[in-house]
Symmetry: C2
Subunit: 269 residues, 2 copies
């Protein structure tokens, strides 16, 4: 679901806007967004900032990740009424935050930087451990798929999904998508390295649970449950049905947000 | 420390020997070897086998890993007085074991197979997350090193360590090494991929904490704390001193055991 628009604000007079990159292990969190009585990444950051600065701060991220989804480089912005040195804030956050959340980059930004509205694109990676037996070392960050996946078939299906399409069939809630269901997938790649199969999705935006739906579909194609050709008919149907499965959250990682320069993607750009 | 020799036994008459590959997340274990009142991998396997078969079984591994060290493919053997189908044992183990231990391969072996004595070599990998800020997604399986490591210097030092040497200076307990302290390192590699720096060590055998000592030394070289040239003098000294640090256990993973064919290693073989 595309997030509902938030009013575009500026930092208070004399205050300052900050931009940060956040890395988190989603295992123990109920996703990004604040929820009553449940640990979320946004809540962890906001309460750490409150303790540090005494200010009640709202942290706006580029995208809200679901329960269990990880992030290598989520981006967010927030405002402080009383400006502070960025490196001190960063060090303070690392003292306050659990070790499941780190802030590899924090700096003052221009006052009109907006983590969501300024983003040109996003990259997600979906990891699969493809072997008859699960891997203890990958269990929190990769989906275990027993039967050998046909990566060539998955790639053929992925090629049919690349480009600008109405992805309603790959949204978990197409009716609630604000701004319609057309998106551009610049890149949808499948690579195998031994038992690791990785799906990379780069696009200008993603519908609600879209990457997990794309991954779920590609996995069924790789298993031979769905023929490659059905990909086109599912996409054209623009209806979400049981033909598309949503792959488990723990395999997904928000890899990168693109601001400024667009990603270089051989198939389209 | 090279393990003390165990008497070479055969399976009981009418019984059967089994060989298995074991993968484990070492985080929650006090290493491989049984210890009173502490969770170890050996104890987990032996108690699962007892529950499954009613037999008190000793599981002999190729090498005993220390507390916190992981394994992608440890190899072990054990005997049963009453033979059972290997696939049933494997399925039973997966039902009994915690998900931190898996057995990707289990089969009946020849009665004189010995996980330790038949091994020709071992491969370990040591993982480093090399960035100013730690990574929540790598925190249990890579050592966090803040300053940028000079991989070229680490490689130059690694080249001086490759080959057949007396590695007493890289053993945590050189006096207790049974069978002396001479070993052959077929390969000692350092590679960077973004923030990930990986040390690969392949050899005919390793002294007590030898890989972690090699990693600790290479990291100090990479930081510029120890000059590359000191590697030779440390090695030749054959004395373990504070000049060599033991890198933390959680970065280490027992990657592979070589039986039969020796690994292909460009520098030496």
């Amino acid at each position: 679901m595309k997030d509902a628009p938030v009013p575009f604000t500026r930092p208070p007079k004399g205050g300052c806007r900050y931009r940060m990159t956040i890395s988190y292990d989603g295992t123990g969190f109920y996703g990004w967004q604040c929820q009553p009585d449940r640990p979320t990444v946004q809540e962890a950051l906001e309460s750490a900032l409150l303790k540090l600065t005494g200010e009640t701060v709202r942290v706006h991220s580029c995208g809200r990740t679901d329960t269990g989804v990880h992030a290598r480089a989520q981006v967010a912005h927030f405002d402080l009424a009383i400006p502070r040195e960025a490196w001190k804030l960063q060090a303070g956050l690392h003292a306050m935050l659990p070790e499941t959340v780190r802030v590899p980059l924090l700096r003052q930004s221009v006052p009109n930087f907006h983590a969501r509205y300024d983003a040109k694109g996003k990259e997600y990676r979906y990891s699969i451990w493809n072997a008859p037996v699960a891997s203890p070392l990958h269990r929190f960050q990769a989906l275990h798929v027993r039967p050998r996946l046909d990566v060539a078939a998955m790639r053929a299906a992925a090629a049919m999904l690349t480009g600008t399409h109405d992805f309603a069939a790959f949204s978990a809630n197409p009716r609630r998508e604000i701004g319609g269901t057309v998106r551009t997938l610049w890149r949808l790649d499948v690579r195998r390295q031994g038992e690791n199969v990785r799906i990379t999705a780069v696009g200008d935006g993603f519908l609600y649970k879209m990457v997990r739906s794309l991954a779920g579909h590609l996995i069924r194609v790789g298993k031979g449950v769905v023929p490659v050709e059905e990909t086109g008919s599912i996409l054209r149907s623009r209806r979400r049905t049981a033909r598309v499965e949503t792959a488990a959250a723990h395999g997904l990682c928000l890899w990168k947000i693109y601001y400024g320069a667009l990603p270089k993607c051989p198939p389209l750009c």
